[in-house]
Symmetry: C2
Amino acid sequence: MSDDTAQLLGPLRERGRWRADRCPIARSLGVVGTRSAMLIMREAYYGTTRFDDFAGRVGITEAVAAARLRELTGAGLLQRVPYQDPGQRTRHEYRLTEMGRDLCPAVLALFEWGSKYLYGSGGAPVTLQHADCGADIHVTTTCSNGHAVPLRDITLARA
Amino acid sequence: MSDDTAQLLGPLRERGRWRADRCPIARSLGVVGTRSAMLIMREAYYGTTRFDDFAGRVGITEAVAAARLRELTGAGLLQRVPYQDPGQRTRHEYRLTEMGRDLCPAVLALFEWGSKYLYGSGGAPVTLQHADCGADIHVTTTCSNGHAVPLRDITLARA
């Protein structure tokens, strides 16, 4: 076994002896584990709020967009809010909730990883920076005491 | 438009005028955008290396496990290495590469998000801590200068 893996503690030490049937990663993937769900969240982070725009900008059919937006709203990542353009009937837009915003590190981690590994010498066509200081954005694994924590120093334990 | 979204800069300012057809998030999802790929990576982080263990511990068929392991190895997240148990024929195990380890924040971000939102009052059954100091693990969005960066202070720009 490689040393560069997480450390399983206590009754979790023998990975062959327990089932990850209540795993938070698996549970999250049950909500946002499709490409279209993740890309709808990307669009929400980029400011998209309207049904037609989600479908068009993600590049999915209206049926898929409707299903995903219904799931993401039902799960609590987006909130459906009425709006009315002048002379038009009332429509609904989709706004990020705190729960939806809190998924941001997961989506941005995919941005960073893809940018690093999937573009060859040319590099990715877009970059993320901190508005205040202009420095590049990174998604990092740290502990509450502020230490950067590599995978091998992470422990998994029963709650 | 909500103020709590990323800021699109320069030619990206009008989201309706460009297509995200070379998006790093979408490209990453092309590699690890299935539930089974993500859960195989989880298992690799927990120390799993052998084919049968990946299939059993993720809870997928051997056919799906074989397809995902082939894709993840082909993409460079895992490396196929021969091993031989005494008296057995040579087999192969799958070990994390640096590219595979670098995906860790994306997977752990799903762990943290799911733990926070998808368990009700009982909380998640497992937790992640820093081995050295025991503090909880968090996946955070920061800039190279060390500032914590909320979504609204992130800018997206052409490279």
